[in-house]
Amino acid sequence: MILTELDYVRPAGLDEALALLAGTRGARVLAGGQSLLPDLRSGADTARLLIDVRRLAELRGITRTGTGELRIGAATPLADLAADPEVLARAPELAAAARANGDPQVRNLGTAGGNLLAAGRPTDLPVAAIAAGARVELAGPGGRRTATAEELAAAGAPPGSILTALLVPATGPAAAFEKTADRATRYPVCAAAVRITADGVRVAVTGATARALRLRDVERRLAAGGDHSTEAVLAAFRAEPRSLFVPGPGTSAEYLGHLAGVLTARALARAAASA
């Protein structure tokens, strides 16, 4: 039961959605609603107007762009993302992260964009998008622009903007995602995503940290050592400041830092094996 009074509108196109968002106090974009609805029910979110973009054609579908990127419409359901042959072949960490989210019903409604923007929830997609070196496409009152997935995870979408797509470098299979799920929420206690590129490895973790983060220091240590063994990865994580890891129910920062290392090591091993 949602006790707050709210309005609902289903705009005909992106421009109308942007206009509504700009012109209404307390307006929120609704896509799959798999994070927003629980918040509305609990009272954690008190949106006054919901702008439903789930059906907007501009926000749906997975295509290959001229520059070789995969363009994933923000309203693409996670289930579609997880099962897409191109994504599975070219960005396996993203497919695995999409599949790791929630349960089949959440994946059927939950969208790529919603998952990237579920503020305060350690969803699975951001960490994979960061490791993949993905960018996001944002439409706002001042036009369209792009940001990196890392910037999005750090700052969120600017007020008044709508996330329209995720742009993923389709570089190939040398990538992996690993997760330890919370038994109750199914959100990650910790998740790690890695991608091995010509420039080295990209490592990102979430759940164990305050938000999805790329760990450049870990990457540097791994590159310097040239060793991706479990022991080397764990050592690279032990060198991170303890404050990077945020304790949760039943988990200390010390354990989370260790777990992040274990999952990263496992992801690296799988990515190397599939390269």
Partner: protein
């Protein structure tokens, strides 16, 4: 606001508050009480219905957002007292229900898995069935009989394809 929704094959028109949850419409507005409510947070899966063919939690969908879609509830699978679907029959044979409160949600969630398998001419593995069930909590059965029921349903469906 005025809403039009196809529920179990019938077009329904009604007025609903914008903040109404689909499960509230189904149970309280349309009297389709086979869809249950077991938690407040989207964890239990007793409210699962099919929305344009996909299984979803009807406690995490606004009625307004479902407008224009096709909704199938457990009541839409078979008429009252009518013949069970293949999945329901297989679950019956494996005693895949005890108190029954989680059962309609499981039937609606698993229906998508079984339908997909039938369309693709494949059968899900046991780990796939178990993973598909992660959105449905059951405290009675320990899930084993449910898993056996799905396996039986898929086997029966495959046998039916071969006969056909």
């Amino acid at each position: 606001m005025d809403i039009s929704l196809n529920v179990n094959g019938s077009d329904r028109q009604f007025s609903a508050e914008p903040g109404e949850l689909l499960v509230e419409r189904l149970r309280d507005g349309l009297g389709l009480t086979g869809t249950k409510v077991g938690c407040d947070t989207g964890q239990c899966g007793t409210c699962v219905v099919r929305l344009d063919g996909r299984s979803v939690k009807s406690c995490l969908v606004l009625t307004a957002s479902a407008a224009g879609s096709e909704v199938t509830t457990v009541e839409g699978l078979t008429p009252p007292g009518g013949e069970l679907t293949g999945l329901q029959e297989a679950l019956r044979q494996e005693h895949g229900t005890q108190c029954g409160f989680c059962t309609p949600g499981m039937v609606m969630a698993l229906g998508e898995l079984v339908d997909k398998a039938a369309q693709e001419g494949t059968a899900p593995t046991e780990p796939e069935i178990r993973e598909w069930l992660t959105g449905n909590l059951c405290r009675c059965t320990g899930y084993h009989s449910v898993v056996r029921g799905v396996q039986r349903a898929c086997a029966a469906s495959a046998a039916g394809r071969q006969d056909g």
